[in-house]
């Protein structure tokens, strides 16, 4: 987009260095047991400066871990605009999982999940992040649906939200409770679960498989 200033580049580099150090500490001793002061000292800065780079302690974790939900959002956006919401969503979930299961990605995300699972605090914030993703995806799908159908329909938005909620829930459950399965197995589980859902109204995208 716009030319990044020297300052912006430096700042971004600093951010990454801090989060590298932080995540290393999180893995080593857990999120809760790591203080911001320790992160700052390990990164060679003061605690005050840490908070100039990250608004909260958990942001330093999610700055790296949030890639997954963003990928899903991107894949939804990449779908053809005239596709029905539920069809687009299913396809986006499929292709997102396929992408995330690639090589080095899965190592990284397994590590993050471990850190996440050991901190109730972090987990709580993860839920609100999922909730934000739900809103982002639902809004995108709703706008597209509204352009083609009836933008004044009062039920559509909420029905779309529940569909997205189900999809995110399914992915989250499988990722959390089927860590030991192969990526292909996980994808199959998610796919089967989503296939069993047929939107309450055909205009939202009834199953194409009859």
């Amino acid at each position: 987009m716009s030319a990044p200033t020297l300052r912006e580049v430096t700042r971004q580099a600093a951010r990454e260095r801090i989060s590298d150090v932080a995540i290393e500490l999180f893995i080593e001793r857990g999120y809760d047991a790591t203080t911001v002061e320790e992160i700052a000292t390990a990164a060679g800065i003061s605690e005050r400066t840490f908070f100039r780079y990250f608004p909260t302690k958990d942001e330093v974790f999610f700055s790296r871990a949030a890639a997954d939900t963003q990928t899903l959002i991107d894949h939804v956006t990449a779908r053809p605009a005239d596709e029905a919401p539920w069809v687009a969503l299913q396809a986006a979930v499929d292709s997102t999982l396929l992408e995330l299961d690639r090589a080095e990605n899965s190592d990284r995300s397994r590590t993050y999940r471990t850190v996440l699972a050991h901190s109730a605090d972090l987990l709580a914030h993860q839920f609100t992040r999922l909730s934000d993703a739900l809103t982002a995806i639902s809004d995108t799908l709703w706008e597209r649906w509204a352009a083609a159908e009836d933008p004044t329909d009062p039920d559509a938005k909420i029905l779309i939200r529940t569909l997205v909620s189900s999809a995110l829930g399914a992915v989250n459950e499988v990722m959390s409770f089927a860590e030991d399965r192969t990526p292909a197995e996980r994808r199959r589980l998610v796919h089967n679960t989503l296939s069993a859902i047929r939107p309450a109204r055909p205009d939202l995208g009834g199953s194409t498989a009859g």
Copy 2:
């Protein structure tokens, strides 16, 4: 059950008095803007004593607001043990909504939702509470299913979890985004949404309506 000690009765009374005062303050000036010290002072106790009655600040809120999820759990438990998971869940959701929509209940829960919606912090904890409910309900349904079918099936537990996740998600979405509808309308929305979900496997409870 067991005879409540005099101490237990006094303690419970104190807890209720504190949470009454606290929730009044939350409504008046918002959750985040209310400090524990203010609650304690208003209740005529010290801050230290407050934390002997409630482990955290949000607990004082949820001690009153958690009734809804507990009602759902109860209704699931009340279902016949041999009923398929998804059938039991749908029925439990229906009857729970019916019960919660009764008279004075809905005023109270609207107030709570208002407080909740204005605090990101509180909302995050609400999600973890929903997650706990998800686990409780899923465990109950799984145990029943396992007794009748195959307890060693590796997929069952996770498939049940995704079903419960969808159900809770649907209820949550409707309650959050259809506040302005009539209770009957909300129940219809939830019911329709859940009817559109057919478990990936018939043993988990395919729709009875063909």
